[in-house]
């Protein structure tokens, strides 16, 4: 971690959009695991995810971005096919 002489004064953020460098996925205690067989690609999880961590490609769910998924469990709760399971983060 950087020392006090190396960081912008007073917590100013001088580089726009640098929140992408903050991997909030490290906060997660429960991890969503998607079951490809059960998933109907309805995209409800994509619409509900507050962290835009459901990655969609060609109108289909490609993966969950664990760099930014905080493990809130909304996707698992909303999934009509029960295709997402929350598992203990190890």
């Amino acid at each position: 971690m950087k020392g006090w002489k190396e960081i912008p004064e007073g917590g100013l953020i001088l580089e726009p959009g640098n929140s992408i460098g903050y991997k909030t996925g490290s906060w997660r205690s429960q991890k969503p695991i998607r079951n490809e067989e059960k998933c109907s690609h309805c995209l409800i999880c994509w619409a509900y995810c507050p962290d835009s961590a459901i990655i969609v490609e060609n109108k289909k769910i490609k993966e969950i971005d664990y760099n930014y998924c905080k493990g809130c469990g909304i996707c698992a709760n909303e999934c009509p096919k029960k295709a997402i399971n929350m598992e203990e983060e190890k």
């Binding site: 004064e9 007073g10 001088l14 726009p16």
Partner: protein, 388 residues
């Protein structure tokens, strides 16, 4: 150079007119009201280019000042007493964000009981808020300090609070030498903010959430900025001497070099103390005065040097710090001199809520400390002066 007759508040407004700040956001409170009121007349008459914001409270006034300063403007306001107290939450924001806001404080007591007259409880309560604090003795110093404050603030990139005594200075008409407008303009120069929020080509964020992983590093930066401000105050004082002929440092000495006993005071009390020093000298007593101008950052080395020959020091505090060992100035002076001086240091709390401080009162202090220097015995380290 012109000579005018002005009270402290109108002198502040006059200095503000010459500075012509980008933004002034203010709210009236006795004994500061005249300053902002007079300045608003300059705005209405088109004598300044300032965006004047009449806010609904001091909390909003300081918030508007912070926003305007972050945007990149040169910003001035003023307040006193409960007004300063009402700013509390936002008062701590400009220093770590390095926003050079200037706010004149016309020192006034805090409630309760309600009182509108002078003491230093308001600005002393703000002593840990990260603002540079400068005390002026009279109208001339009030005017001079405000102009210097702009330059100090912008060089140190810290907020500055020039203070003077409410009513005693704010409402007393005195002889005032004002600089020519051009001299003021040249002295303060053009303000170039380091990170203006309105620089849309370089978008930045002010005030994001800061957790335990970086908050302490940012406080360490603020600590350093305040340490560096000491030299800036001195340098700006020297520069100001060149255009005004008036000398400004962190403190000034009066008959102190050969003094055995001395009084330390802030603000208008220094004038009264000088007369008391002269009266003691006539009686053959080697009395002296240290008038402290800069309270934050505290000029520790200068105080040690100024008092090196003094045997007993009486620190005059115009506020109390209830429950502490002595009032704020006493604590600071005593801590600065610890193991650097053999002087006995005693504290007099005086002048609360505008209680008059007379030459006789200060002569009494000199008599007390003369006795201490003779006997080496201190009866009370902390006492109330002029209380019934």
């Amino acid at each position: 150079m012109k000579v005018l007759g002005m009270n402290g508040d109108t002198a502040v407004a006059y200095a503000m007119k010459q500075i012509n700040p980008d933004v002034v956001a203010g709210y009236p409170i006795t004994p500061q009201t005249i300053a902002i009121e007079k300045f608003s007349e300059y705005v209405a008459d088109g004598e300044v280019d300032t965006e004047f914001v009449a806010t609904e409270s001091e909390h909003s006034a300081m918030s508007a000042c912070i926003g305007a300063s972050a945007a990149g403007g040169r910003v001035i306001t003023s307040t006193a007493s409960a007004g300063l107290a009402f700013m509390w939450e936002v008062l701590y924001i400009p220093a770590p964000l390095r926003l050079p806001i200037v706010m004149n404080v016309m020192n006034r007591a805090l409630s309760a009981p309600i009182n509108i007259h002078c003491d230093h409880s308001d600005s002393m309560g703000a002593r840990d808020s990260g603002w540079i604090q400068i005390h002026g003795e009279n109208v001339q110093e009030g005017y001079d300090n405000l102009i210097q404050a702009v330059k100090i603030a912008e060089k140190a990139r810290l907020p500055v609070m020039p203070c003077f005594d409410g009513f005693i200075v704010s409402h007393a008409v005195e002889r005032l030498e004002v600089l020519d407008d051009k001299n003021v303009k040249d002295f303060i120069g053009i303000y170039k903010p380091k990170h203006p929020l309105l620089d849309i080509k370089h978008p930045i964020t002010y005030g994001p959430f800061d957790l335990y992983d970086y908050y302490m590093e940012h406080k360490r930066q603020q600590h350093e900025a305040m340490e560096n401000a000491l030299k800036i105050v001195k340098d700006v004082g020297k520069e100001y001497m060149k255009i005004s002929g008036r000398n400004y440092d962190t403190l000034s000495k009066y008959k102190l070099d050969d003094a055995d006993i001395a009084v330390i005071a802030l603000g208008s009390t220094a004038g009264t103390a000088r007369v008391a020093v002269d009266n003691m000298r006539e009686k053959g007593i080697n009395a002296g005065l240290l008038k402290l101008r800069l309270f934050r950052p505290f000029p520790r080395e200068d105080i040690i040097n100024a008092l090196k020959n003094v045997k007993v020091v009486a620190v005059m505090d115009r506020s109390d710090s209830f429950g502490s060992f002595g009032a704020p100035l006493f604590s600071e002076v005593r801590s600065a001199l610890f193991r650097k001086s053999n002087a006995e240091i005693v504290n007099y709390i005086y002048g609360l809520g505008g209680r008059d401080i007379t030459v006789k009162d200060i002569e009494g202090v000199f008599k007390d400390i003369k006795e201490i220097s003779k006997t080496g015995k201190v009866k009370n380290y902390v006492s109330y002066l002029g209380v019934r």
